[in-house]
Symmetry: D2
Subunit: 273 residues, 4 copies
């Protein structure tokens, strides 16, 4: 992903070609190459130099919109062999954990790399993402996904069980996307900068309860548990109304910050009150 695109598609750009039946193709433009689709062939050279937002046509006459993909478009179309985090959750994680240019962020597990891609996008060229997973083949898929959007240089993938610990120290933020984060909080504390941000996502309340118990036994404060619910609306302006169905649950988000020496005189915030 280029940081910012020009008005026209150029060689090296990651482009999204959005065609019929909601089908998208993501390619990096390269002179003399062609894109083969079920709806016909398009030469990269026929794309290079076209204005973004244009409607292009394959040799069979099928239309495609030429778009620069947003992070959310990439995440929705990621190759996956595991459940991936939803943009609604990633967006809020970024806000609470302060993810931005120049930071060092650690995550485990890598999974299909959706959150990895989001972190890599946001930390920019000066930042760094370290991602642990115990399965090498899963990390291969994440690496493919990162490479496709040209963010692989910002990410260090390590194949290792979390219980063996992390190599890093003083990272800005640690996110665990694992079933049992409550077992690894001391490992988190050793690698997290004091005052740093911890986050996790968990599907069941039983896991959340265990995590809250463990957090209360370690040096964490500013603990927060929440859910993000996203409700879409139908876009007919004369018949405006919510969609009939929605995703009701993806996971509970748990956040906390490591502290040194808890003083009970300080009341901690009770979010939502």
């Amino acid at each position: 992903m280029r940081p910012s695109y020009s008005e026209v598609a150029r060689e090296g750009d990651l482009v999204q070609l959005y065609g019929k039946s909601y089908k998208s193709h993501f390619i990096v433009l390269k002179h003399a190459q062609t894109l083969q689709t079920h709806r016909g062939v398009i030469a990269h050279d026929a794309i290079i130099g076209q204005k973004w937002g244009s409607c292009l046509y394959s040799h069979q006459g099928n239309p495609f919109y030429l778009m620069q993909p947003a992070l959310v478009d990439i995440l929705k179309n990621l190759k996956r062999n595991t459940q991936i985090m939803y943009p609604k959750d990633i967006g809020y994680v970024n806000m609470v954990m302060g993810i931005g240019p120049g930071q060092t962020v650690l995550e485990a597990g890598t999974g299909s790399g959706a959150l990895t891609c989001a972190f890599a996008f946001l930390v920019g060229n000066e930042g760094r993402v370290i991602s642990y997973d115990r399965k090498a083949e899963i990390q291969q898929l994440a690496l493919q996904n990162l490479t496709k959007i040209n963010l692989q240089d910002r990410v260090i993938l390590k194949t290792r069980e979390v219980e063996l610990g992390f190599d890093e120290e003083n990272v800005d933020a640690i996110f665990l996307d694992l079933p049992n984060p409550y077992d690894y909080l001391q490992i988190v504390e050793r690698s997290l900068k004091p005052g740093g941000f911890f986050g996790t996502i968990l599907p069941t309340v039983n896991q959340v309860s265990l995590t809250l118990k463990s957090l209360s036994q370690e040096n964490f404060a500013f603990i927060e548990v929440c859910e993000i619910m996203l409700r879409f609306y139908k876009t007919d302006w004369e018949r405006f109304r919510p969609t009939d169905r929605m995703i009701a649950h993806t996971g509970f988000l748990v956040f906390a910050r490591s502290v040194l020496g808890i003083d009970p005189a300080i009341e901690l915030p009770d979010p939502g009150e």
Copy 2:
């Protein structure tokens, strides 16, 4: 805001001192200065060199946690004279509109500058935020807020009515935080890069309906309307449950992308189905 903090607070760092009764102080550390609070005085020199996450004490013995603030902490404590956008909404806006390092983002109106701060944080040193508002005094407050967190260099504030048009062309994304975005869509199209991202937030359904009508009459596609609902939970692991009350409504988010030449053969996505 330094991109990434070291293990200890250093001169020039933006720090949050979180004290009793949920009261936070945000200061940039400077040798020989002091922080005056209702709970006593702390010398900046007594903070410089301390580990993040430490509990420090004023001359009266009142405790404060030394924290590096996340974007969300800064936004919550922003000086304001207008309603500001909530982190839950900003987080999702960033995802859908692809805000990240190196981009050029335009917004109107500036208001108290919450979204301006978020955009400025995310676009990094290579990015740029241009923010219009018709009231100079409101922009003064936004400038104060930006300066406090040292992001003022990434932002260009312009005092002007939107109906007079924007100076910029080919910006990556435009966000309108105004009551009547439906009146300005042609102005948006002129300044937005083809294929670029448009977004707005509106409190009432009547405004959303008018905006959808206008969008359907201009060259926009990939229109999406949604709401983000954030539900907090009480963090007692033995009595885990949602909080009693919640924010039920902040605004409807409307997103669209400009396109050149709409081909009706392409079905557009219907989010949420």
Copy 3:
């Protein structure tokens, strides 16, 4: 429906036989009759005298639970040719409109009769439900549904366009399940007892807005608009969590009460504040 069931199923009882693959059969027990199912035959005489909650078997050995159906079970299994109201909405309508034994309730349109069944169940033997619909064939289905649960004697079905007016006066409550209730509010006022309850359900905000406009021009007060959202949880006690998907929208409920002589000195309640 018998008002209250004995411990065993008796002739004349409406019973639910809940079998494999979530398939239910609703029958009124009658000596010497048989129930034919895709999973085998059961004689009514083999059901009469059995304890409720028992597991019975067809001649092919397929199991069925013998249950006395609740209103909600009947509604879920109603024959329908129109969208029917959901139990979550009907339950709240009953509370706000004070539906109970002995009352006279008017509705239009009848549709498949789900709300008709609910009203008929609740008004008891002394109550009365009058239901208008412009299509006779739709009312035939409602009549079948009412007869199946033996509540037909409490309901008077009238085939007529609402714009021609209702015959009744001074009814306790009127519910309109129609696309344009805003066109019929004067007709409602003529048939509703002063102080009586008006209710309607509408899928789009445009319809709600028009209805609110019309209500404000007639003699109605205590106006209330709400939505009922029902979130189910998976029932595994070790992995307790919300279901993945939910019904996001059925309709907006609008309630009001007719009044004689509005005094602006009386502040009306603002629900939800």
Copy 4:
């Protein structure tokens, strides 16, 4: 509460006088009596014979609407010394548990009697509500509330600990509004008609999890856990939008039905899927 009211208020009617500042008075009309309020005096004889929905005036000239109260109005204004169930939850409980005319319903504990009032209203003159609570003084308040709305004859209050068991057998439905329903499921089974309806409401997920565990160990099926969320909207038709805040949580509703002899070949419904 009269089953159905005439067009005018009559002696013996329960009336609601809704005055300034959202203040309501509930009285049973009686010849020669007077109502004393902070906004002046009204003689009952000045109310008897007036049309419902009229605006009446005290001797000081303050206005009051004369309304026949719905169940929901009574519940909202109930005297209470405990948290009472919300109408949104009661309405759904009634639907799922099939509460209606002629039934026998048992509850524990009585609390301030909100659910008791609702059940008593719905079971009609032929029905019966038995309500247990271990505290006599709490039941006194419930009795006052029931007497005020003239439903006391349908309710039998018993002062006893639940662990001592219920006297009744074969009741149609049992609702436990207690912190630990999971301790009493065998007691429930002994008093509930086979196939009958069990329900409970619980604030925390920990309690729900324990209840689900216990239910899975007893003869219960058709287990369902849900939450009812009620979202109000502001009623300005030109600025239609949700209210800013809402009640986010009252309790989780748990429902089940007793069965005799569970056959694992029968798949039980998974609500919400």
